[in-house]
């Protein structure tokens, strides 16, 4: 947020921090929260989007239409959470090594997806094989991305392992 003549700084006063240890009331069904931190979540984000697109869009529509935002959309939010947990569960069961390599690379490279394509290719291939989820760029023509033009020295290795 750069301050300038046309964008003066908001006044800051000393912050104090609010915590709230009371749990949700018991009439709201409780779902587990997602335990993945930022790098694994970014790595799995396209696969979560591939499987959970209806729930996510439902939630976003509800949020945009509701008056109070959070309170009206708890049910849709629970569905979103459960679906994302299921995707992460499946990835951990089937493709854990490739997943860990990819998010390890992302964590090293400032969460820049374009710097970790070499580790992303095996992950995409493994997830496409075991989970039938393909990475698709939203708002594009919808071609699935399984293979980011892996270099030829690498392609045969990936192919031999995952695309028999």
């Amino acid at each position: 947020m750069t301050t300038s003549k046309t964008n003066p700084r908001e006044p800051h006063s000393l912050p104090y921090y609010i915590t709230d240890p009371t749990p949700l009331p018991s009439h709201i069904p409780s779902v587990p929260e997602i335990g993945a931190t930022s790098a694994p979540l970014l790595s799995a984000s396209y696969f979560i989007g591939a499987r959970c697109a209806p729930f996510n869009e439902d939630f976003m529509l509800c949020r945009s239409q509701s008056r109070s935002g959070e309170i009206d959309c708890l049910k849709e939010g629970r569905r979103v959470t459960r679906c994302a947990i299921s995707v992460l569960d499946d990835i951990n069961k089937n493709c854990q090594a490739e997943f860990r390599k990819h998010w390890g690379c992302l964590e090293n490279e400032n969460h820049d997806l374009s710097r970790c394509r070499l580790d992303e290719a095996p992950l995409n291939a493994c997830v496409a094989k075991f989970l039938n989820l393909t990475k698709v760029i939203p708002n594009s023509d919808g071609t699935p991305i399984n293979d980011y033009e892996t270099p030829s020295f690498f392609k045969n290795k990936v192919k031999a392992k995952y695309e028999q």
Partner: protein, 86 residues
């Protein structure tokens, strides 16, 4: 032929630069847990890193478990500022 004593100061300068650079790099890696430092952090990155801290209790430690520990549900922290109205 230049006597080797004349090149010793250059060696000292190069070694000092090397030690300084290595020391800085090692200090940064030690802080970030073996990764390169995060740069160009925007509000989203700051929010996610704060969430990571709440999940794993360590700076830049990641976890890929699907389900969070139970205390994560009530560990959120909101920042407010005081308003004096007098």
């Amino acid at each position: 032929m230049i006597p080797f004593e004349a090149l010793l100061p250059y060696g000292v300068i190069i070694i000092m630069f090397g030690v300084a650079g290595t020391g800085m790099s090692a200090a940064k890696l030690l802080r970030e847990g073996g990764n390169k430092p995060r740069v160009h952090r925007d509000a989203w990155d700051k929010m996610m890193m704060e969430r990571d801290m709440r999940l794993t209790k360590e700076y830049r430690k990641q976890s890929d478990e699907p389900i969070a520990p139970e205390e994560f549900k009530t560990s959120s922290v909101w920042r407010a500022s005081r308003i004096w109205d007098d």
